[in-house]
Assembly symmetry: C2
């Protein structure tokens, strides 16, 4: 469907490319300031030599339609519009720069972008490998799901009652007792955080979290104007939080089970201590529990399981276990919180996909989900051991790490502070995508979040070899 | 799955209910200030007489666990917690009241709530009747959709490339020429507005819109701190907007085809005039085009079709035509805008359901979608005529209306200003849910948005009879 120059045209290939780029600008698709695709990308799309593309771009630069910016690419020039026709355009760049939401960090934008390309080896990604997803079984289950017309209309504010009832039952295995009224279905854990930021906190509130933190790599609270304050779970936690909180509203965000990015599991004592401190200071806790099904061995129960005061907002999801494409997660919380967040969700996107909810309900209620988890844990464990063997053999002198207890990640620490943007870009040049520690803790130049869950064993081997070359 | 008292217990039914309610409070599901379900709802859940529930609630009130608030129901009392055990709870109500996002208007919350109940006749709802949804055909299509593992992982920031390519082709029929890079898949049109509010406007920006307006019934811009300014499409539009805009950023929101709630279709001249004025003032236009496939007769082309300057952000969706439960819509816009909104969407919910995207791609590309639209338009037309006949026979002396040109609605105007909250609640008492004009224009006490798309013909007849009784 993408445009290509035609060998049959009376125009040369170069002329056709020049006309096509002009038409993109003319029709308003590429406005002033748009960065155009790279020569390599265009050459691939047009199925021509890169030199032909280069000549076409040079011609357009000479005409004042395009301009190069050192090191960052080729852009639609400011006066392109005057060149083409006498019309004014909204200044989109100005709109974007002055608007409310923070952009993703450049490194994360690059990660999001390069994760799309098949030739890139994803060494840090927070996603299961396609070969670990039960694609064919899901396809099979689509054939037996029966829909009723009610279920594909707009959903009730809290999401499918059927799914919420099934989740109540499922959560009992995590020692969490709740009822359908206390569950809100969301489009993944990140949306849960977004709703909490908009619905439960005033601007300038304090969000406590550990360092390194997943919350540094996404912006739901930062974009809503909250202060992110790192705290450690040490004996002074209570005093520290009391001092830092002052009179402000606050909450504590944590991933106590298979912490992202470190993979650490809190002890029961650490969980109880945090709970008691937060209870005393009346600080709500967000317990992000999206990895717990991937524990290789059972650990201590979730904080929510001993929450007798409605203090904990508990978040679960199937994105790390069944399929991220479903976009289904849930929040368990006291009724006023659930009603409030459901009200905002209705104002934001009118609920999550009814089809995705049907699929998740089917997988959990039939036991397909838990059977899949058994296999998945085995496969992840096998992959963890494979990577740990490579590390043992080749990285012992330059890095340290803890043996994985489950999930996707090994939090690999290099002895030297080598994990900087240069390393990220150098590896990207070799088509290896890493998640550097500095996206989880801006001052950290020692760690990478190494994922054994996505790339194939062969790719893991190759990528680790490249990594070793750069790290030595 | 819901708890019920047991006839076999050594406790009386009343005692069991008291214990159960206490346990809800104790475990933190019902925190201080929670409104508990009505006696009628509880009696239905427990399968007991309402008087038994009443006695249990009286007992809990006497114990200081619950308290009544005049006319608004029974709530968990402030000191319930002290009564039960010596623990503190976060003050959720305070959190909620001071937080960023505006709650839905009470009337709209009630609409969202009562739309869930089967016994309620929905006379104003913005949704197709279950009998108009192609449920069985969608179920059939699930059986033939084949998934590949890539497609059920996290999607690319802009959404499924396959769907975007299919949409490019589909949009040609609306005379809109675009490319996959200029499309963003969103979870319905409302999310598109939400992303635009967060990603393209600074706080305090101006959003121009017509009165009455769909935007008064939802808050994506208001919650982000924008000024909503009503303007009319009159000869002074240019001067008015120039004056009102001042130096601020602004945009113009419109539904030029089958306007919500009035059903009005703009003439080509009106569209061109708005476009030229906005072009001159560099005001971007949001063209909300989610109803156009439901036109009974073709009208003038979309504004986007003559947008040569990348001025128009065009929004489409399948929620009004195929199934709202899919939660799939799209924005067509210049590249910098799409990249920006995709970046925010990735930060908000990591993309829309891959399964829903597969279903929509299948329906549009195979032509199923357009064949369904032919039937749907016929059925809607039949329903419109049915309602118009009733209006002709019974409402001529008290109200006026324009014949429907498509979509779901008739904007019924009563001669007297009778459409107030009283009327809304009186009809709700008779299990008839209306969308009063004041949710689209706060000063309007004359209109209701009458939908012929949801209730059955019989229900429409009954509900209109009730409406007539109250209106006379």
């Amino acid at each position: 469907m993408k445009w290509k120059p035609s060998r049959l045209s009376h125009l040369t290939i170069q002329e056709q490319i020049v006309d096509w780029i002009k038409s993109r600008i003319e029709c308003g698709d590429w406005t002033v300031g748009t960065k155009i695709p790279t020569q390599r990308q265009l050459a691939a799309q047009f199925n021509v030599n890169r030199s032909t593309v280069q000549l076409a771009i040079e011609e357009l630069k000479a005409d004042g339609m395009l301009e190069s910016k050192m090191g960052s690419g080729v852009f639609v020039a400011n006066n392109s519009w005057n060149v083409l026709l006498d019309r004014s355009q909204p200044n989109w760049q100005q709109h974007i720069e002055s608007s409310i939401y923070k952009p993703n960090y450049r490194t994360i934008q690059l990660i999001n972008e390069y994760e799309q390309y098949d030739h890139v080896i994803r060494l840090g990604t927070g996603e299961l490998s396609p070969e670990l997803l039960p694609t064919k079984q899901i396809e099979q289950s689509l054939k037996v799901i029966s829909l009723d017309a009610k279920s594909i209309g707009y959903s009730s504010p809290q999401g499918s009652l059927k799914l919420r009832e099934i989740l109540c039952n499922y959560l009992k295995k995590r020692d969490i007792q709740t009822s359908p009224e206390n569950i809100l279905i969301v489009s993944g854990a990140l949306q849960a955080l977004q709703l909490i930021a908009m619905g439960l906190l005033e601007e300038g509130s304090v969000v406590f979290h550990e360092q390194p933190s997943y919350l540094n790599s996404v912006h739901p609270f930062q974009s809503a104007g909250m202060h992110m304050i790192p705290v450690s779970r040490n004996p002074n936690l209570s005093d520290n939080m009391r001092t830092l909180k002052r009179k402000r509203q606050s909450l504590y965000y944590c991933v106590p089970t298979l912490h992202n990015p470190t993979g650490y599991n809190w002890s029961l004592e650490e969980k109880k201590n945090l709970y008691n401190v937060c209870n005393e200071l009346q600080i709500p806790i967000i317990e992000d529990d999206v990895y717990h099904e991937l524990l290789f061995e059972p650990t201590s129960p979730a904080i929510k399981s001993f929450d007798a005061s409605g203090q904990v907002l508990y978040i679960g999801s199937v994105s790390k276990t069944l399929s991220p494409g479903l976009r289904i997660g849930w929040i368990v919380a006291p009724s006023p919180v659930i009603e409030r967040l459901a009200d905002i969700k209705m104002q934001t996107d009118y609920g999550s996909s009814a089809f995705s909810q049907e699929i998740v309900a089917h997988w959990i209620s039939t036991g397909l989900y838990e059977r899949h988890l058994v296999t998945l844990r085995e496969q992840l464990k096998r992959r963890a051991i494979f990577v740990e063997n490579i590390l043992d053999q080749q990285f012992k002198e330059i890095a340290t790490w803890r043996k994985s207890e489950g999930g996707f990640y090994i939090w690999l620490r290099f002895n030297e502070p080598i994990v900087n943007k240069r390393l990220f870009l150098d590896l990207l040049n070799q088509n290896v995508l890493i998640n550097p520690g500095y996206i989880y803790d801006s001052g950290d130049l020692h760690h990478i979040r190494l994922s054994y869950a996505y790339a194939s064993l062969e790719e893991l081997n190759i990528a680790l070899t490249y990594l070793l070359e750069h790290a030595r």
